[in-house]
Amino acid sequence: MAPSGSVDRDSLIILHAPIGRDAQLLHTLLQRAMLSSKVCSSINDLCGEVARGVAAAFVTEEALDTAAIEKLSAVLQKQGAWSDLPLVVLTVGGEPTQAIRERLTRLEPLGDLTLLERPLRSDTIVSAARTALRARAKQYEVRRRDAELQLVTDNVPVLISYIDREQIHRRVNHTYYEWFGIPTDGVVGMSVWALNGEAYYANAKPYIAEALRGQRVTFESQLWDKRHALRDVSVSYAPDVGMDGAVRGFVALVQDITERKRTEKALRESGQRLQFLGELGEATRALTDPSVVMAIIARMTGEHLGVSRCAYADVEPDEEIFTVQYDYTAEGCESATGTYRLSCFGPGFVAHMRAGRTVAIRDVAQEMADDAGGDMFRAIGIGALVCCPLVKENKLIAMMSVHQSEPRDWTLEETGLVETVADRSWAYIERSRAQSEVRASEQQFRTLADTIPHLAWMAYADGHIFWYNQRWYDYTGSTPNLMEGWGWQNVHDSEILPAVMESWRHSLNTGEPFEMVFPLRGADGTFRLFLTRVAPVRDNSGTVVRWFGTHTDIDVQKRSEEALRRANCELEEFAYVASHDLQEPLRMVNIYTQLLLKRLGPQATPQLREYADYVSAGVRRMEVLIRDLLTYSRITHKGDEPDESRADLGAALRQAIQSVNTRVEENHAEVTHDPLPVVPGDEGQLGHVFQNLLSNALKYRKKDETPRIHVSVQRRDSHWLISVADNGIGFEQEQASRIFGLFKRLHREDEYPGTGLGLAICKRIVERYRGRIWAQSEPGVGSTFLISLPGLSNE
């Protein structure tokens, strides 16, 4: 018994007997047999109960008029396929009338019809009721199994259907609704052709035929879904073969494999991409010409993607002008090499490029308006494109672009490939540019090295020489093969080579620069003297990576120096000899004049003595001349270069004053001076300058005035300015430069005796110490001699 209030409809028997007490009687009978029943007052009531679900129905004959049967048929038709509702019709008695039979014929396909004659026997009623319930219970089992099956199939993401021999869907799972957007009820009854479309059917047709011949088949195809997306599917047909061996239809399983396909494709493409990029790297690795690298990349990328054109463009620093140096074009497509303005391609495109965003356009005609760059793209025959900008440090520097003359769907894989290639191309092109720049600069260096008048070479850190300039080969008359490495030893003087090697090895071990003078044998077999300098070339870490050596031909210079040295020696010698040989006759003249006078004794007249005095004066003057000339000649020839000696000008001046002291005292002269500095130079020689100047100042004094001489000093930048000023007779300023010349005099010998060498000597001495001497004078006022001398370098 079902609990009161809730009826177990799966065991509920409904009763409809509108006339008499039959209904009540039946209800009582069934109740006694512990069977659940319910009395319906009208046919409508009965139909309502059936629609809600009942186990069986008992209806009297008289209740089933034509209208009632019509209503009941409608309800029964809506029952599931599993349902065959037990329907017990209680006839009036005896054989059912023809009329009732005809009416009941309509119900036969819809229910499990049983006729019972009245009057009703209680055991017959109960038995019929139990039979009906048993039959209904079996139906419920079928219903349950069917529901379970439906539940399973509905929840599988696979299209499952049963298709009959006429290729009509007999049964489909819920997935059909999800896929096609058509209620499953609507799908049932549709043909394969009508549901899936012509294209699919054309593909599936042979497999359907196969399935209907009893073969299990599987194939792949494509199917539009309700979103009008074409999806990849895997289709299996399993034939339904009856006991008699006849094929009644087949079960179709249609599985969406779009994702799997995509993954497989992606994997395949990714493999291809890696392989492609590898090949690209390989093809450009050894190349050093950027334009060749560009050409190869464009061709390989263009062919790989099957595009009409592939171009790499360099963008100028203004981010506006760009140049396509070389592009790949498929047959029938024109090259687009040239220089363009980026802004001609529309502001949107420009913005994407400068922001570093890849632009992929499927159909230029549809997606780009003329004034948004579309006209420009079309003008160079671009129907679809992918363009990848290369932005480095916020600057657009290059673009890589693939074009298709017709619209084209670019896959993510393809755009990704163009991006990767663009990035790598830049790296490859920059690498080759850098290499070619290095090569160019090396070429420039070698050209330079071949142009210089020096012999030059480069060695590895271990001293192995790998390059010589052309001058080396020209001079030595050798060949690269003979010279490579350590072959240079052959052009050395074997006497000197050990010393060269020792010094060179020292440099190699310590990294210190090498400098040495040694002879090298020329092509003609004669040796010339070279100054050799080798400098280490270090890397950033300070390690010696190269040696760069030069040989400067100093043969002529050395010979000149040697000749000069010899000439100086000879001159020195000459000066001594000259002084000796010139003075000897004078000594004889002088001494024998004196001996003459001595021999004459009292016989020598005053006139004879006066003559003798002239002889002596001439001799003395000659002696002074010889001495001064000797002094003059020795100034420049004393040594090659001024040495490191220091001259204390204070001491030099004191010495000079001392040497003219007699005349200072005789003339009551006043000599004053500032504190004097120490300068580079020879104290004795610079003292000689002071002595000459003081001597002149005293000699050319005014007869009626106390001679005043002042030596002052001023610092002028790196020089000292020393002036020797007097209040003497002075001279015309235009004579100022003339008086420093050899033998130049302003006065007659008998007025002011002199050799005309004093100031020339001063000039030579001052100039020897890189100084300058000049004079300022005014007749009757006095003269000032100015000397500029370099100070000590550390001052």
Binding site: Y576, H580, R587, M588, I591, V619, E623
Partner: protein, 144 residues
């Protein structure tokens, strides 16, 4: 003791030879001069000295450094190498004032380096130098 001083004079300049004689006379030195007027003659003398009767070992050598046909210092060395003359005093009489001449003369043990002056009185001083050198070796009294 006061005897005649045997002097070997190597001097090419006749004027100077006469001045040397004058200086000796002025200082009252009794002398006997063997003269060589050039380097070759001086060499011949030095080779023969002490070996022939006509070439006795001199008491003093007066040597001009600047002689024709031979270097003065070379003659000086030759003279010193002759064992008979190794202790004979040598006075260098020269017009050279070159330091290297002075140094070499000192190195060879010259008794005096007399630079020829251009004043007569100063030249006469050579006489007193000769007397002093001879006196030091006991050949003459210190004062004539």
């Amino acid at each position: 003791m006061n005897r005649r001083l045997r002097i070997f004079l190597a001097e090419d300049n006749a004027g100077d030879v006469e001045l040397v004689r004058e200086a000796l006379r002025e200082h009252h030195i009794d002398y006997e001069i063997t003269l060589a007027r050039d380097g070759m003659a001086a060499k011949n003398f030095i080779e023969r000295v002490g070996r022939a009767p006509d070439t006795p070992v001199p008491d003093l050598l007066l040597l001009d450094l600047n002689l024709p046909k031979a270097e003065g210092h070379e003659l000086f060395s030759m003279f010193r190498q002759n064992p008979l003359c190794s202790n004979t005093p040598v006075i260098v009489v020269t017009s050279s004032n070159a330091p290297k001449d002075r140094e070499r003369a000192a190195a060879l043990g010259a008794a005096h380096y007399f630079r020829k002056p251009s004043d007569l009185a100063e030249f006469m001083e050579l006489g007193s130098v000769i007397r002093r050198v001879a006196a030091e070796r006991g050949m003459l009294r210190a004062e004539g």
